[in-house]
Symmetry: C2
């Protein structure tokens, strides 16, 4: 079972992943981007700022996703896999950063990267403006502050739009709920099979 | 004017490019893959054999093509550009190596890489089995001998199939003609504008 946790920064994703690690000790925990040698090199190339083409950058992220699928997801599909981010973020960020790509186009490209093998469940932690502001003030988030709260909300909107357009089972959880309540909703949706 | 020269190894492509360099001294001569910093790094990653996913490799080649387009083709479109290989090879090799991709899919991906800005002319040097054998015997071609003549012919067949499926102006020249005759056919098709 392949579960992807999605949510913009401040949504509490990392906290939930820590709790899931304690609960499901046999599960595979992974994240995107990264996790493979190719992913490491791609990340380095992107951070070095050596790509001038928007399309080239998109293809590099897709290559990372494809390699992550091949090396980590595919061989562990009989296990419980939790991924910190995945194609939903990928599509939402690409759509937010570069309006020129359509959802349909981005979905098709990501289907190729995942060899049409979609996640069994996407858990989306949805946060509202007030809580983003509150959490940003409590913590220093350099990268996010540069781009602003409106940017985060736009990415989140595009995540929801992506999920609506795809035939993937997903749950949307209010990120302002108590940490334990969110955790319980997630494990309820994983089901007893992996208890 | 963006002209791509295509043809499998032994087709005489390099010889023709040398003649074109003498004729069109103001033209931009480029080649794929390579030609950009990203292309150099992508090539290195692929040659190092660190990619296990077929899709990831395809996306890496597409990233290289997109960057080559952005950095070399797009800023020089008012000039005469000759590229040693391009999307036609890209599609044909991908199709030959990985049957799972359809022509339609590969064409769409390459349209994204080139931002839908197709070459103005593709020159295909077509060679037959007898001439491939003859030229391979005359010269040592380690890489090709490994894969065989049948492989080269299949790639060539897929190049022709790609050109037929796309709306790109192309000329197909018999690679067994005299070097000078081939050269004259090419320059006749470039037109007087660049004489």
């Amino acid at each position: 079972m392949y579960v992807i946790l999605e949510g913009v920064d401040t949504s509490g994703k990392s906290t939930q992943i820590d709790l899931l690690k304690q609960k499901y000790t046999d599960a595979v925990f992974t994240k995107e981007p990264g996790g493979t040698k190719l992913g490491f090199n791609i990340r380095k190339i992107i951070l070095d700022g050596e790509i001038s083409s928007i399309q080239a950058e998109l293809f590099m992220f897709l290559a990372d996703r494809a390699e992550h699928y091949e090396q980590i997801v595919k061989p562990n599909k009989n296990k419980l896999i939790f991924s910190d981010r995945g194609l939903i973020s990928g599509i939402a960020y690409a759509k937010t950063n570069y309006e020129k790509f359509s959802f349909e186009e981005l979905i098709k490209l990501n289907m190729i990267a995942l060899d049409k093998d979609m996640p069994n469940l996407v858990v989306l932690l949805k946060i509202d403006k007030t809580h983003i502001e509150k959490r940003l003030n409590a913590k220093k988030h350099d990268n996010i502050e540069k781009r602003g709260i409106r940017y985060l909300l736009k990415v989140q909107e595009n995540m929801i739009e992506t999920l609506k357009k795809m035939k993937i089972k997903y749950i949307q959880i209010d990120a302002s709920l108590k940490i334990e309540d969110i955790h319980n909703i997630i494990i309820k949706n994983i089901g007893n099979k992996y208890d």
